[in-house]
Subunit: 232 residues, 2 copies
C-alpha cells in the first residue's frame, strides 16, 4: 500500500478542535518522495550555497527536532577555514586506509573504488557534537540511557538532512573519522561527544536509489526481515 | 525567514535532467508544520489503530531511513501480549522512582506530576534494537564509530515518527527503562542493543508546543546558542 493512500486516520472534527494542520494525501506522497530522494551525497558541485541558507535551515532543525527531556544537547561547529578542513581530510584518509585493510580481500578493490565523502568539494561543512554536560532538560529521561542525548543530536541531523533536501541541497554524513583526533583538531570542550561530520552543497548527481546500492556494494534488505512479533 | 519562503535552489533544468521531484513552497511549509506538530505523545486514546497501519508505515520507514554503509541494523519487536507489556511497565516504574529521587528537592514535585509515558494506554508498542553483529553493509563506515549503527536505528525511529504523525497518529519514545532488564524480559539476542521503546496510538491531545514546555519543565533554548563557528 502506498503511504499516500493511507486512510485519513483522525476525524476532521478532532483536527479542527485542536486547530492542527491537515496532512493530506498529496503532502504525504511528496513526503514519501522526499524520504526516498534524501540520500547520502558524496559528489558535490563546488558552487557555494546562498548566504544564510545553512544557518536558517539549522535554526529550524534545532527548533523542531525531538530531544530527550527537551535537553537540545546538539552543538554545531561550522568548519570553514583551510587548516581545520585539512585536518579533517587527513583524519579521514588515515581511518579510511585502516578500513580498506580491514575489508576482506575479495571486497577490497570495490571498497577502494567507492567515493565515501565530499570533504574536498563541499562548500559547507559542520562538525556535530553532543554536550553531555548540559543542564538543559534537568536530566529528564537520561538517567538509565545517557545515550539518548546523542540520539537527540542524531534526530536534529536527520531533520536538517530532510530540510536541506527539500531545498535541493545535498548532505553527506562522514563517519570514517577518529573522534578523539577530530576533537583535538577542532579544540572542542571535553564534555562534548563527537556525533558526525556533515558535508553540504549542491549535488552533482541525485537519485532515488542509494549510491552504495547503485555501485553494487550492498543491496537493500527487505524491511519485513527486521520486524518481529513478541508473543509469550 | 520562513522555510517555505527559501529560494528555489536547484534550477528547473537540473531537476528535470535528474527526473527528480520538485519540492515546492507549499510542500515545504507543510513539512515545517509536520516537524512542529510531531511531538512526543504520552496521552493516548485506547482506540486501536486500523489493522496493518503500523506495519505499512514501519516498512516505508525501513525502506527510506539512512543507515551507515546501508547496514539497516534496526530490529523492531512488536510487543502486544499482556505479560511482556507488564514487564515493561514494571521496568519503567522502578527506573522512574530512581529518577524521581535523583531530582533536586525543588523540582521533585513537578517531576512527580509529569506523565512521561503512555505504556498503559497505547494500543501499539514497539521495542527497537540495533543488531550490532549484522553483516549487512560489510562494516562500511562503522569501524571507528560503531555507534553509527545505533544512530541509523534512531533515524529509522525518527522517520517512523514523522510518517505516523502525517497520518494523525501520535508516538512517544520511552527511555526511562533499564536496557539490560528489558532485553532479558523480551528475550532478545545478545548482539542486539536496546535503542528505544515506542508507544503509538491516537493522541488525546495535540499541540505545536512540546509537553515539557507546556508543563513548565524546561523552556526551549534559542537555536543560535548551539551554532558556533570554528576559525583558526
Amino acid at each position: 500500500m502506498e503511504f499516500s493512500q493511507f486512510r485519513e486516520l483522525r476525524s476532521e472534527d478532532d483536527r479542527q478542535a485542536a486547530n492542527e494542520p491537515h496532512f493530506d494525501a498529496a503532502f504525504r506522497h511528496k513526503l514519501e518522495e522526499l524520504l526516498y530522494w534524501r540520500r547520502d551525497v558524496r559528489h558535490f558541485s563546488s558552487s557555494s550555497l546562498p548566504q544564510g541558507v545553512v544557518d536558517d535551515t539549522l535554526t529550524l532543525a534545532c527548533d523542531t527536532a525531538p530531544s530527550v527531556g527537551n535537553s537540545q544537547p546538539w552543538r554545531f561547529i561550522k568548519v570553514s577555514d583551510a587548516k581545520a578542513r585539512n585536518a579533517i581530510v587527513c583524519n579521514f584518509q588515515a581511518c579510511n586506509e585502516d578500513a580498506l585493510r580491514s575489508q576482506s580481500s575479495e571486497r577490497r578493490q570495490l571498497y577502494a573504488s567507492l567515493k565515501l565523502e565530499g570533504l574536498q568539494q563541499a562548500p559547507e561543512q559542520l562538525a556535530v557534537f553532543c554536550d553531555e554536560g548540559t543542564i538543559q532538560g534537568h536530566g529528564l529521561g537520561q538517567s538509565t540511557m545517557p545515550e539518548t542525548r546523542r540520539y537527540s543530536v542524531v534526530m536534529a541531523i536527520h531533520t536538517l538532512w530532510l530540510l536541506l533536501r527539500g531545498q535541493g541541497i545535498g548532505m553527506g554524513w562522514v563517519s570514517i573519522l577518529d573522534p578523539a583526533r577530530l576533537k583535538r583538531d577542532l579544540d572542542v570542550p571535553k564534555a562534548w561527544s563527537f556525533v558526525g561530520y556533515l558535508c553540504m552543497g549542491y549535488p552533482l548527481h541525485t537519485s532515488r536509489v542509494a549510491e552504495l546500492q547503485e555501485t553494487g556494494w550492498q543491496a537493500r534488505q527487505e524491511p519485513s526481515a527486521t520486524i518481529m512479533h513478541r508473543r509469550s
